[in-house]
Symmetry: C2
Subunit: 306 residues, 2 copies
C-alpha cells in the first residue's frame, strides 16, 4: 500500500513542521508506513531547530491525489490544508485548534484544548507506552516553546508546561537558554520586505460589518522594527484599498517582555482606541501585556464593535 | 460551578444512553462534577439492560441554557443534539460517527473509526489506568452488542470484539445468551403502530435526483413482521405521497440470521431490483446477508442510480 502522508498547515510554523515529524515517528512505532511532509518553507525559528538537531526538513508537497491516505496535524480546516484534501482519505487528525470539519466517513480525530499540538502528541506516546527518542523530545519541546512563547502566552496551559518538564528529562536542555535563542532566531526579519512582513501571519475576519485584518510579527526589539514604520504603513494602505478593509491592525509583539506595539490604519481605527482605552499617535500605540492575537486582540476589539 | 451535563443523540439507542452513564462515571473518576442525561425515551432493548442491572434511566432533558457546560457522547452533529446546543459550552465530544462539527473555541474531541462509542470509552479507561466497575462493564458490553448486532454487523471492528472480551473478564456474562436476549427484547414491536414502525429509524436522502427514504426495523422473526405487510404498505404509500418520494425501502432485518426482507415502493423501485439483481414480487424481496443500511444498502442503491 502507498505511504500515508502526514502534514500540518500551510505557512508552516515550528509546531506544524515538528508535529508532522513526531507523528510520523509515532505511526512508525504503531507499525504504519508513513512519511512526514510540509506545505511550505521553513521559517527561521524552525530552521534554528533543524540546524540544532542537524536534521533535514520533510519533503515539500503542494497537492495530494484523490484517495491518498493522509494524517493531518496541527490543523483541521480544509482551507488551511493541502490542495486536493477534499478528495483525500483522512485517517487521523491530531490538533489543538477550534474546529470546522466535515467528513462522510469515520476517522480517528483527537484534539485537546492545550497550547500546542506537541503536547497532545506527548500524551499519545504516554498512553501507548512508547519510548521517546532524544531528538523527538527536542522537537516537541521546541514546538511548545514556540506556541507558548516560552510559557508566557495566555494560550499556555498546565499540560504544556508539564509536557516540557517531563520531556526535558530525556532532552536535557537548558530550556530558558535554548528557548530564548530559538525564539530570537525567529525574529530576524532583516531580509523580509515590508510587503511580506504584513502578510507573514495575517488573519482576515469580520468585526460586525467591518472587514478587518489583524497581522502579527514577533520581535525582541520593537524599536528596531519601528524604524520600518513608514514603509510598513505604505504597504498596509495598499492592502486596505485592495481588500476594502475598514481596519488593519499590525501587532509588533515583543516576545521577551510580553508587550505589543500596534500600528493601526483604516477608517475604523477608533475601535482599537476604544478597546484598549489608548490614544493612537501617528497611528500607533503601545499595549502592555498583549501578546496573543487569539485571546488578547480579536475578542477585545470584537467586543467594542458589537 | 454548575454541573456539566452529558448526553447522547435524540431518539436514543442503547449505545447513546449507556455511553452517557459510562462517560459520567469516567468524568467523576477525573474529579469532575457531571450528570448523565438523555434526550428521549428508552427503547425496549435499553430497558432490558436497565432491568437486568436494576438501575434507573438518566434524567430526561429537552433543552440546555446558554453557556451550559456539556459533554456529547455518540454524536457530534448539532441537528441530532439537544435544543440550545448552539449556545452551550461543549467541553468534550466522545464519538465514533462521521463528522460535521464546528466551534469557535478549543475542546477535547476524541473519535475513532470503530463500531461503538463504548469501545472508545473503554480505551479511555485503559489509557487513564482507571478501574472499571462490573455495572459499567456490562453497560459497555451491552452497547457494543447492540451496535454490532452481536459482532455480526459489517460495522464491527476488531477493537469492538477485543473490548467485549476484556470487559467480560469483569462482567462475567454469557455473552451469546445475554446478547441474544437483549437484542430480542429490542425487537418486540407488537404495541407499535405501522405508522410509527416505518418512522422508528428512517433516513431520508437523495439518490441522484430521486428523493429516497430507507427505513429499518430489527426482528428475530421476519414472517411475523410480514403479517403486517399490507398495513405497512398503506403507511409507506402515504409517506411517498406526502414527501413526494421516488423510492421508499423498508428493511426488516433478521438480526439472528443476518438477512433482510425489504418492502419497496415508489416509481423508482426498479433501482432496488437492479442493485441486488432480484425480482420484486408483491413489492418485496429477500436479501441474504444484508444487515447494515450504512454499508450494505445506501451505497449499493446509490451506485445504480449514478
Amino acid at each position: 500500500m502507498e505511504k500515508t502522508l502526514i502534514f500540518g498547515h500551510k505557512s508552516p510554523d515550528t509546531d506544524t513542521i515538528t508535529s508532522a515529524i513526531v507523528m510520523a515517528d509515532f505511526e512508525k512505532k504503531l507499525g504504519n508506513d508513513v512519511e512526514a511532509c510540509r506545505l511550505g518553507n521553513l521559517n527561521k525559528e524552525t530552521k534554528y531547530v533543524f540546524d540544532y538537531l542537524k536534521i533535514n526538513a520533510p519533503r515539500l508537497i503542494e497537492k495530494v491525489e484523490e484517495g491518498q491516505n493522509v494524517i493531518l496535524v496541527d490543523h483541521n480546516e480544509f482551507k488551511q490544508s493541502v490542495d486536493g484534501i477534499e478528495n483525500a482519505n483522512i485517517l487521523k487528525v491530531i490538533d489543538h485548534h477550534t474546529m470546522d470539519f466535515k467528513t462522510s466517513y469515520q476517522l480517528f480525530y483527537h484534539s485537546e484544548p492545550v497550547g500546542c499540538t506537541a503536547t497532545v502528541l506527548y500524551k499519545l506516546y504516554k498512553q501507548n507506552g512508547f519510548e521517546i527518542d532524544k531528538n523527538i523530545a527536542i522537537l516537541m519541546i521546541s514546538a511548545i516553546i514556540s506556541d507558548t512563547l516560552l510559557f508566557k502566552s495566555p494560550t499556555c496551559t498546565d499540560d504544556d508546561v508539564k509536557a516540557v518538564e517531563e520531556l526535558n528529562k530525556i532532552a536535557g536542555l537548558d530550556i530558558n537558554s535554548y528557548g530564548t535563542s530559538m525564539l530570537k532566531a525567529g525574529t530576524d526579519f532583516s531580509d523580509v520586505s515590508e510587503t511580506d512582513l504584513i502578510n507573514l501571519d495575517a488573519k482576515e475576519f469580520m468585526i460586525g460589518d467591518i472587514k478587518t485584518v489583524v497581522a502579527q510579527v514577533s520581535t525582541v526589539d520593537i524599536d528596531e522594527m519601528m524604524k520600518r514604520k513608514d514603509k510598513i504603513e505604505d504597504e498596509i494602505k495598499k492592502v486596505i484599498e485592495d481588500k476594502k478593509l475598514g481596519l488593519f491592525l499590525f501587532a509588533i509583539t515583543d516576545i521577551m517582555n510580553s508587550n505589543s506595539q500596534v500600528i493601526v490604519l483604516g477608517e475604523n481605527s477608533n475601535i482599537v482606541s476604544l478597546a484598549y482605552n489608548v490614544k493612537l499617535e501617528n497611528n500607533t500605540a503601545f499595549l502592555p501585556g498583549v501578546v496573543s492575537r487569539k485571546k488578547q486582540i480579536i475578542p477585545i476589539i470584537s467586543k467594542v464593535a458589537n
